[in-house]
C-alpha cells in the first residue's frame, strides 16, 4: 500500500476492484465503514456479487480479465470530460514529457516488438529504445507544460485510449453501460482538488497475463485525479498474508535482493559494474533520484552478508554471490518447470503448499516426483509433503525422499511482521513451541551451521561464500530475533564521521541517509534502516498518540518503512508552494519562515515528508533551485503516466486472457498479451475458444479459510462454515446444464477435472460479450485431499492455467476456461 489500512477512513470514494475486501481482508471494513459513514461512496467491481458487493453503494459486474478495458474507458472518460486534476497532472506527472518521435502503437503492438522465435515460455518482447523520453542538451527530459505537443505523454495517452469508448468497453467487459457510467462518474469526482479516491486491489488484479498493467492503469487514473500522496488516496495492494509485505521487502522473490536491490546477473561481473548498471543517473538538479544512493545500500548489504570478510580488496565479497545468467528467469513457474523436466535435485518447501497453491497443480505434483529429496518445513503435513501418496500417485514408483521438519506457529515465536501498510510490528512469544517443533529461525540457523561444517570438513567446491558468511544471530545457542532485527537495521562497523557527527563503531545506524558505500556501514536491508536504532526497537512502540494532522497516522505505533513515512509520495499532497491540496485532511505542510516572498528556513509538519527539501516554489511563485520533485524514487522525479519500464508497453492495453471465450479482441487483432509467458510441456495444456470449455472460470478465497487451508481445514469450527469446495454459477447456467443447487458437479479445464458442490446463485449473471452470452463460474482454492479425511475436496489450482504476466510471471489463475457438467 502507498497509504495504509487506517487511512482508508480518510477517503472520499473507495473503489474495491480486483479484491474482495469484506471477505478476504475483513478488518479493512472497519475503515471502509468509517469512510462510508462520513459519506464516501463504496464502489465494487467484480465478476461476482460478493459480500463486498453486498455493502457497496454501486456494484458493477465485469467479465474476468477485462479490467484494462474497464479502466481504459475511465481514462477516456476523464480526458473527454476534462475531469483530470490539471495542476497536479502538469506539475507532478510525466504527462508533459515528450516521447521519442519514433514511438508508436499499431493494432495492439507498441513499436519495437520482437516475437520470440524460441520455444518460450515468453511469447515475445520489446526493444524499448523508441519508448525513451526526448532529452534537452543538458540531458533533462523535454517537457511541454501546456500538454499540447503531439509527442507529449498526455497527447499520446489521449490517442491510445481514444478506442476505449463506452460501446467497445461494454462489448468486452459485459458490464451494463449505465453501471459503467455510474462508476466512472462517481469515482472521477475525486479529481477535484481536496477530494481523495482510493483503490483497494489484490490478487484479482495481479493474477492475469496482463496483471501488472491492470494496476498500472489504475495508477495512471490516480495520477490524473491527483490521488497519489494524499490522505484517503493512493494505490493500495491488500496483501494476501499478514507478512507478505515483509517477505517481499526481504527478497522472497528471485529477482531482488533485500530492499528491492537487483539480483546480480552474470554480466555484472564486478561490484563496480553491478552498481553502475543499477544506479540511475539524472542530470536534473530538481530530481532527488533517490536510487543514486544504490551503491551505499548494496555495499552495506554485502557487509551484512560477510562481515569482516567483506573488504574493498575483494569487492566486499561481491564475487562470492551467485549470479543469474542473463536472460534466465527463476520465477515460481520456471522453478517447477525445471523440476518437472528433471533439472532440480532437491527442494525446500518452506511454509508453503505448492501441491495446492500453484497454478496447474497437477504439473507441480508430478514435478515433485522427479526430485531426489524434498524437505517440507511446515506446522502440519500437507498435500506437498504427502504428494507421493496423493490421488493418482504410485508410491512404489516415486524415488523422492521426503523429510518433514515441524515448525512452530507464529504465536509461538518472537519477531516482526510487516503488514500491507508497510508497518513493521513487533510481536512477542505467546505459548512455547509444541513438541519437537522449532521456530524457523532456529531451523535456518542450525541448517547454516551444519552446511558450514560440511564445507569445512570436505573442502567443498566454491566454499568461500559459505565459509565467509556471517552467521551469528544467536544468543545462548538459540536464534535471537533482536539480533536479526538489528542486523537488518544495520550498524557502523568502525568509527566514522557522517554529516559532521562522529558515529561510534558498533552503534546502530539511525537511518539510511547515514549508510556509506565505503564499507564503514553494514545494513541487511536499507529500507528498514531506522527500524531498530540506539533509541530502541521502533517496531515495538505502541503509542496511540496521533500526529498533528490527526488523520490516523499514529507515528509512534510500530514503525513503517521508509523512515516511518506513513503515506508514500506525500510531497505530492501539497501544491508547489508547500500548501496542502486538502486543508482538512492534510498529510504534510510546509511551515518554514519566509521573507520578502521567499522561504528562508525549512520545516515540515505532519507525516515524515518524502524528503525535507524546500517546496518547489516560493510564496511569491518564483521557482527554487534547491527543491526536489515529489516522486523521489523515480529517476526524473515525476509520477509515471507513461511507464517505459514495463515489459508489455508504456501504456496498458487490453488483451484477452490466454484462455478466453471470445474469438475477437475488439481493441486490436492481437488476442493475447504478445509478451505473456506460456509453458509448453505436455502437462501445460490450454484451450481458448474451445467448445469443450465454454465457460469463464476464476478462483478466489473465502473469509472462512486461509490460503491452501492448511491452518483452517483441520479446524472444525471453520470446516463447519465452509465444508466443501464449491462452484458458484448463475441460475441461467444451472438451468442450461440441468444442475440443481447443492448437488455435486464436475468442473473441467484443459488440465484437470474437479468435483465441486454447486451453489446456484443470483450473484452470478451471464454476460453479454459482443453479441454472445458468456457464463462465468468461480471456485475457492482453499481445499486439498489431505483434509477433510474424505479426500474428496481438492484444489481448484488443478484447473488453473500455465500462463503468466511478463513482468512478474504471476499465473493467470483469475481467468481461464472450464466446462461444468452434472456428475
Amino acid at each position: 500500500m502507498t497509504n495504509h489500512w487506517i487511512d482508508i477512513q480518510n477517503s472520499d470514494c473507495i473503489l474495491i476492484m480486483g479484491s474482495n475486501a469484506a471477505e478476504n481482508h475483513p478488518i479493512s471494513f472497519k475503515y471502509v465503514t468509517k469512510a462510508m459513514e462520513k459519506g464516501a461512496p463504496l464502489i465494487n467491481v467484480d465478476p461476482r456479487f460478493t459480500r463486498t458487493s453486498a455493502k457497496a453503494d454501486i456494484y458493477a459486474a465485469l467479465r474476468s480479465g477485462t479490467d484494462i478495458a474497464f479502466l481504459g474507458g475511465m481514462i477516456k472518460y476523464i480526458l473527454d470530460n476534462n475531469l483530470y486534476n490539471k495542476e497536479y497532472t502538469a506539475a507532478y506527472t510525466n504527462a508533459s514529457f515528450l516521447v521519442d518521435e519514433s514511438f508508436g502503437f499499431k493494432d495492439g503492438l507498441f513499436s519495437g516488438y520482437r516475437k520470440n522465435s524460441g520455444d518460450g515460455p515468453s511469447m515475445g518482447g520489446y526493444d524499448k529504445s523508441s519508448w525513451a523520453f526526448q532529452m534537452d542538451d543538458k540531458g533533462i527530459p523535454r517537457m511541454d507544460k501546456t500538454l499540447k505537443d503531439k509527442h507529449c505523454v498526455f497527447q499520446l495517452m489521449k490517442k491510445h485510449y481514444e478506442r476505449y469508448d463506452i460501446d467497445t468497453v461494454v462489448k468486452v467487459t459485459g458490464t451494463a453501460g449505465k453501471d459503467l457510467l455510474k462508476v466512472y462518474e462517481t469515482y472521477t469526482a475525486t479529481g477535484k482538488t481536496g477530494k481523495a479516491g482510493t483503490i483497494m486491489y489484490a490478487m484479482g488484479w495481479t493474477q492475469h497475463t496482463v496483471g501488472t498493467q491492470m494496476i498500472r492503469t489504475m495508477a495512471m487514473i490516480q495520477l490524473l485525479l491527483g490521488n497519489m500522496g494524499v490522505a484517503g488516496g493512493g494505490v493500495n495492494a491488500l496483501r494476501g498474508e499478514s507478512n507478505v509485505q515483509g517477505s517481499t521487502d526481504h527478497c522472497l522473490l528471485w529477482h531482488i535482493w533485500p530492499g528491492y536491490l537487483k539480483t546480480a546477473r552474470a554480466s555484472n561481473d564486478t561490484l563496480e559494474a553491478y552498481n553502475k548498471k543499477y544506479t540511475p543517473k539524472s542530470n536534473d538538479p530538481l530530481s532527488a533520484n533517490w536510487w543514486q544512493n544504490y551503491p551505499k545500500y548494496s555495499v552495506s548489504l554485502l557487509k551484512s552478508f560477510f562481515g569482516d570478510k567483506a573488504i574493498p580488496e575483494n569487492q566486499f565479497g561481491y564475487t562470492w554471490l551467485p549470479k543469474v545468467d542473463d536472460g534466465a528467469v527463476y520465477s515460481w513457474f520456471d522453478l517447477f518447470d525445471a523440476m518437472y523436466k528433471g533439472n532440480l535435485e532437491g527442494f525446500f518447501a518452506w511454509g508453503q503448499n505448492p501441491a495446492c497453491s500453484g497454478s496447474n497443480a497437477s504439473k507441480i505434483r508430478k514435478a515433485l516426483e522427479k526430485l531426489d529429496w524434498m524437505v517440507n518445513v511446515n506446522i502440519f503435513d500437507n498435500e506437498t509433503g504427502s504428494f507421493w501418496r496423493g490421488p493418482g500417485a504410485e508410491p512404489s514408483k516415486i524415488g523422492t525422499e521426503v523429510f518433514m521438519l515441524p515448525a512452530s506457529v507464529s504465536v509461538e515465536k518472537e519477531g516482526s511482521i510487516t503488514n500491507s501498510g508497510r508497518w513493521m510490528q513487533w510481536r512477542y512469544q505467546g505459548p512455547k513451541p509444541l513438541g519437537n517443533s522449532r521456530p524457523d529461525g532456529d531451523i535456518i540457523m542450525e541448517l547454516g551451521h551444519r552446511i558450514k561444517e560440511k564445507y569445512k570438513a570436505s573442502d567443498g567446491v566454491f566454499k568461500h561464500p559459505i565459509l565467509n558468511l556471517k552467521w551469528d544471530y544467536e544468543t545462548n545457542g538459540a536464534y535471537d530475533p533482536h539480533k536479526a532485527a538489528k542486523e537488518i537495521n544495520g550498524y557502523f562497523v568502525k568509527d566514522v564521521t557522517v554529516k559532521g557527527k562522529l558515529c561510534k563503531k558498533g552503534t546502530l545506524v539511525p537511518s539510511f541517509a547515514w549508510l556509506q558505500a565505503d564499507g564503514s556501514t553494514s545494513s541487511g536491508n536499507w529500507l528498514y534502516c531506522n527500524s531498530y536504532t540506539e533509541k530502541g526497537n521502533m517496531s515495538a512502540r505502541r503509542s496511540k498518540k496521533d500526529a498533528a494532522n490527526n488523520i490516523g497516522l499514529y507515528p509512534e505505533f510500530a514503525w513503517c518503512w521508509p523512515v516511518n513515512r506513513r503515506i508514500l509520495y506525500n510531497r505530492a499532497s501539497v501544491d508547489p508552494k508547500g500548501h496542502p491540496w486538502d486543508d482538512k485532511q492534510w498529510v504534510i505542510k510546509f511551515a518554514g519562515e519566509s521573507k520578502d516572498g521567499k522561504y528562508t528556513s525549512k520545516k515540515w509538519l505532519g507525516d515524515v515528508p518524502d524528503g525535507g527539501w524546500y517546496p518547489l516554489e516560493n510564496p511569491d511563485g518564483t521557482r527554487r533551485s534547491d527543491a526536489k520533485q515529489p516522486f523521489i524514487m523515480r529517476k526524473h522525479g515525476f509520477g509515471q503516466i507513461f511507464g517505459p519500464g514495463r515489459a508489455d508497453g508504456p501504456f496498458p492495453e487490453h488483451y484477452e486472457p490466454l484462455e478466453c471465450p471470445v474469438e475477437k479482441n475488439y481493441f486490436s487483432s492481437r488476442m493475447v498479451n504478445p509478451t505473456a509467458v506460456v509453458y509448453s510441456t505436455k502437462e501445460d495444456g490450454h484451450a481458448s475458444c474451445d467448445p469443450r470449455f465454454p465457460f469463464v472460470g476464476t478462483t478466489y478465497r473465502v473469509s472462512e479459510h486461509w490460503q491452501t487451508g492448511l491452518m483452517t481445514r483441520p479446524q472444525k469450527w471453520l470446516m463447519e462454515l465452509q465444508p466443501n469446495v464449491f462452484v458458484e454459477m448463475s441460475e441461467e447456467l444451472a438451468k442450461l446444464r440441468g444442475i440443481k443447487n447443492g448437488e455435486r458437479v464436475l468442473v473441467s479445464s484443459a488440465r484437470a477435472n474437479l468435483e465441486c458442490t454447486a451453489i446456484v446463485t443470483k450473484r452470478f449473471k451471464p454476460f453479454t460479450i459482443g453479441y454472445a452470452t458468456v457464463h462465468q463460474v468461480g471456485i475457492p482454492w482453499h481445499y486439498g485431499w489431505r483434509w477433510p479425511a474424505t479426500g474428496t475436496e481438492e484444489s481448484a489450482n488443478l484447473l488453473t492455467p500455465p500462463a503468466g504476466d511478463p513482468n512478474t510471471r504471476i499465473p493467470e489463475t483469475k481467468a481461464f476456461m472450464v466446462n461444468v457438467t452434472k456428475l
Binding site: 471494513f29 472497519k30 456494484y59 471453520l718 463447519e720 465444508p723
Partner: protein, 238 residues
C-alpha cells in the same frame, strides 16, 4: 438497567467471526455440515450453535441484495420462555446483566413448550430435552469483558453496553441508515436487549426476525394458565 447488544445489520459483512467466537468461548463442538448450495452454515441454530449468521439473496426494488442477519437470543425484557418455564432453577434472568440464562435443569421442562413460547424461534433442545441458547457471555460480562461475538466483530456491527447507551446508539445509527435505506427500522427495541437494525423488511432476513410476524410467539394453554397465576407466584417467591 440491563446490558444490551446492538446489531447493525447494514454494516455486517457476514465474515462470521461472531459465529466462530461464540463456539470458541462456549467450547461448542462443530457440527458436521455439508454445503447445500449456500454460504450459510450450519443451516439453523441448534443445541450446539447459539449464534448463526443467516444469509439471504433477495431482489429488492429490482436490485440484488445479500442480507446478513447474525441471529441469536434477544434476551427479552419480559422473556416468554422464562414465563413459560416458571422454574428459576432452569431459566432465570440475571438481574445484574439482564441475560436470560438456561441451566441444565431445563431438561426437566417441556422443551417444546419453551421453544413455542419464543417469538424469535431461538431455544434448541438436545436429545435429552436440555435446552440451550446464547447466554450473552454472562461469565465474560461479569468479569468486565464484552460478549465474545462483539469483541470479534471487525466492522462495528456488533455493539455492547448499558441498555440506554445501546438504545441511543441504535437511534443514532437508524437515523444514519435511513439515508440509504428508507425502510430501515429497529426490531422490537422496547422488548429486547439484543436490538437489531435492519435496512429492509425484517421478514426478508429471517422468518422470526421480528416478534409476532408468523406462527411463533403464540402461547400454549399451559403457559397461558401459568401467566394468569404468575403475578401471584412472583409475590410468593419474594
Amino acid at each position: 438497567m440491563s446490558k444490551s447488544i446492538f446489531i447493525d445489520t447494514t454494516i455486517c459483512t457476514a465474515c462470521r467471526a461472531c459465529q466462530v467466537a461464540c463456539k470458541q468461548w462456549h467450547d461448542l463442538p462443530a457440527e458436521e455440515t455439508i454445503n447445500v448450495g449456500s454460504h450459510q452454515n450450519p443451516r439453523d441454530l441448534s443445541f450446539e450453535t447459539y449464534k448463526l449468521v443467516r444469509m439471504k439473496e433477495e431482489i429488492i426494488n429490482g436490485k440484488l441484495e445479500w442480507l446478513f442477519f447474525p441471529d441469536q437470543c434477544r434476551h427479552c425484557e419480559e422473556a416468554p420462555c422464562l414465563e413459560a418455564a416458571y422454574d428459576e432453577s432452569a431459566i432465570y434472568r440475571d438481574d445484574a446483566t439482564g441475560a436470560i440464562i438456561y441451566t441444565r435443569e431445563t431438561r426437566k421442562l417441556d422443551a417444546d413448550d419453551i421453544i413455542a413460547a419464543c417469538p424469535y424461534d431461538v431455544p434448541r433442545k438436545a436429545a435429552d430435552g436440555t435446552l440451550a441458547k446464547c447466554d450473552m457471555c454472562n461469565d465474560r460480562v461479569h468479569n468486565g469483558l464484552k460478549p465474545a461475538c462483539v469483541t470479534a466483530c471487525p466492522t462495528g456491527a456488533m455493539n455492547f453496553g448499558e441498555r440506554d447507551e445501546m438504545l441511543g446508539l441504535a437511534e443514532k445509527k437508524l437515523k444514519m441508515a435511513r439515508e440509504k435505506f428508507p425502510k430501515a427500522r429497529l426490531l422490537n427495541p422496547d422488548e429486547v436487549n439484543v436490538i437489531y437494525l435492519v435496512g429492509f423488511e425484517p421478514e426478508l432476513y429471517s422468518e422470526y426476525a421480528v416478534a409476532g410476524a408468523t406462527r411463533k410467539g403464540g402461547i400454549s394453554r399451559s403457559v397461558a394458565l401459568r401467566r394468569m397465576v404468575s403475578p401471584l407466584a412472583r409475590l410468593m417467591r419474594v
